[in-house]
Amino acid sequence: MNEPTLPPAAREAIDAFTGAAGWEQRARLLMQWGERLEPLADSERSDENRVRGCESQVWLIASEHDSRWHFRADSEARLLRGLLAVLLARVDGLDAQALRTVDVAEWFNRLGLGRQLSPSRANGINAVLSRMQALAAR
């Protein structure tokens, strides 16, 4: 990971999560971070914006500005919202090329959230990332 390019939100995530002791504190932090997600309008929680491959419903909206991608995401599940917020902290504002190569596993591991990055569809962070990459590649 190229340290200097880390967005401020990502640095903040590192500070917060690497200091967390135990699952309860981690869970509380995730729920707090989940609250920071920009809310989606009801109309945006559409089938079109739904990410396939997550057990819980997740919606994702992407927009591009000056070759940099901005994402908004939401879910009904609170801890999943926290995970989405942590993901966005890392990838928001990247260009398509950086998005393609970002190592999400490494990112979550670094935050002590590696176990949350399920290989199954149970939470679907991987599906969200794939969807981001697909949207940015269009």
Binding site: W23, E55, S56, A77, L79, Q116, N123
Partner: protein, 400 residues
């Protein structure tokens, strides 16, 4: 404290315990007894061979052991003869085999009856068959407790009903279905009856002849055996009505380039090399299970289940899905997303399942988008449930 005398027969439980894990997801797949591990090791250590093909010594040993499991299953289910047992990859494949095998008997306008609580494996093959043949899929409704509504079934099963496919025990509701009263309704109309015993066989010995079904399916991996092995029981006359489905290997009697004749069941429906070690392993598991004190086992499972249901009932805001008879309990918590709850149970080492449990349409009918399921096996202890409830309380404290 309720403790399982069979727990130590399952080496994984000690390993999981040492890692702080509690396994309450046996309805998804069961842990395996040492008897299975030894059988697999024994088989692969003493010389593997393909079955039914060669006459050399290792092939004879393998074939004898493989066919031995068929015989054990026939007696386990009280089938009339071993040739009524077909090995498949799992319950899902067995149900697909049936839906394709019966295709020729379904005409436009015919009806296929299932129930509202079927697992996707006992819904989708019939739904797709109905679509291919322009037939109707008729869904039998449930009562409040989660049993098939027999009055409604009496109305809905009629002269156009060709097949009735129903579960013995719901994998979501834990309800035992009134098959002894349901199946005769279908038989009276000349329909073929299919029982999905994937969950049922794990918690009750089943006599397919007294049940009176034409077909019965189960999955080895839920019955403490290896994955990749399923069983299709078919009454001899019912099997004879199935069209061959998969082709190849030893299922053929006579093959020419443009024409072939196939063997009857069971071999005619077992195309290709079967899961030999798995089938042999399942035989060892049946031997192990058969040696246990069935009454003690049932009593233990019953007590565990009571603890589970009572413990959930004691807690505020928990809604049980249906009124489970045995094996498991599914629930939702007011104001709490099941994914959040299962996330925090996972963090505390408790393995339960959350989601739609491969029964999306049932979830729709129950008006929930997902639920948590805790499911039991006879190797579970009272202590497992204590850990579960303690973890549940802490998780809910955080989430509410």
């Amino acid at each position: 404290m309720l403790s399982s005398p069979w727990r130590s027969d399952f080496p994984a439980l000690a390993v999981m315990e040492a890692q702080g894990e509690v396994y309450l997801d046996s309805a998804a797949t069961a842990q395996k007894p040492q008897a299975l591990i030894s059988a697999l090791t024994g088989y692969y250590t003493s010389g593997a061979a393909n079955v039914h093909r060669a006459q050399h010594a290792s092939a004879e040993r393998a074939t004898r052991a493989f066919e031995g499991t068929r015989t054990k299953l026939a007696s386990w289910l009280n089938a009339a003869e071993p040739t009524e047992i077909i090995f498949t990859r799992g319950a899902t494949e067995a149900l697909n085999l049936l839906a394709y095998g019966m295709e020729a008997h379904i005409d436009a306008g015919d009806e296929i009856a299932i129930t509202a609580l079927e697992h996707h494996a006992n819904l989708l093959p019939w739904q797709q068959l109905a679509q291919r043949r322009n037939a109707h899929l008729v869904v039998l409704p449930l009562d409040k407790a989660g049993h098939i509504d027999l009055e409604a079934a009496t109305q809905l099963i009629g002269p156009r009903t060709r097949v009735l496919a129903a579960s013995q025990l719901s994998n979501v509701l834990g309800t035992q279905q009134p098959l002894h009263r349901l199946l005769p309704l279908a038989k009276a109309q000349g329909a073929l009856t299919v029982v999905d015993g994937a969950q049922g066989i794990v918690h009750q010995r089943t006599d397919v002849r007294s049940l009176g079904c034409d077909f019965y399916v189960l999955s080895s991996h839920k019955l403490y055996g290896p994955e990749g092995v399923g069983v299709l029981y078919g009454r001899r006359e019912a099997l004879a009505r199935l069209r061959h489905w998969q082709f190849g290997g030893e299922m053929v009697q006579l093959a020419e380039f443009q024409h072939a004749q196939f063997r009857p069941a069971p071999l005619g429906f077992e195309a290709g090399t079967p899961p030999i070690a798995g089938v042999i392993g399942l035989g060892a598991v049946l031997d192990y299970l058969g040696g246990l004190d069935q009454a003690a086992l049932a009593a233990h499972e019953h007590r565990l289940h009571r603890m589970l249901v009572d413990g959930l009932a004691m807690r505020d805001g928990i809604r049980l899905l249906g009124r489970p008879d045995c094996a498991l309990a599914s629930f939702t918590v007011e104001g709490v997303h099941p994914a959040d709850l299962s996330h925090l149970l996972t963090e505390q080492g408790v393995a339960v399942r959350s989601g739609t449990h491969c029964a999306m349409p049932l979830m729709g009918r129950l008006g929930v988008s997902g639920a948590i399921r805790a499911s039991l096996a006879f190797y579970n202890d009272g202590a497992d449930l204590e850990v579960f409830f303690c973890a549940l309380d802490r998780a809910l404290e955080l989430l509410r």
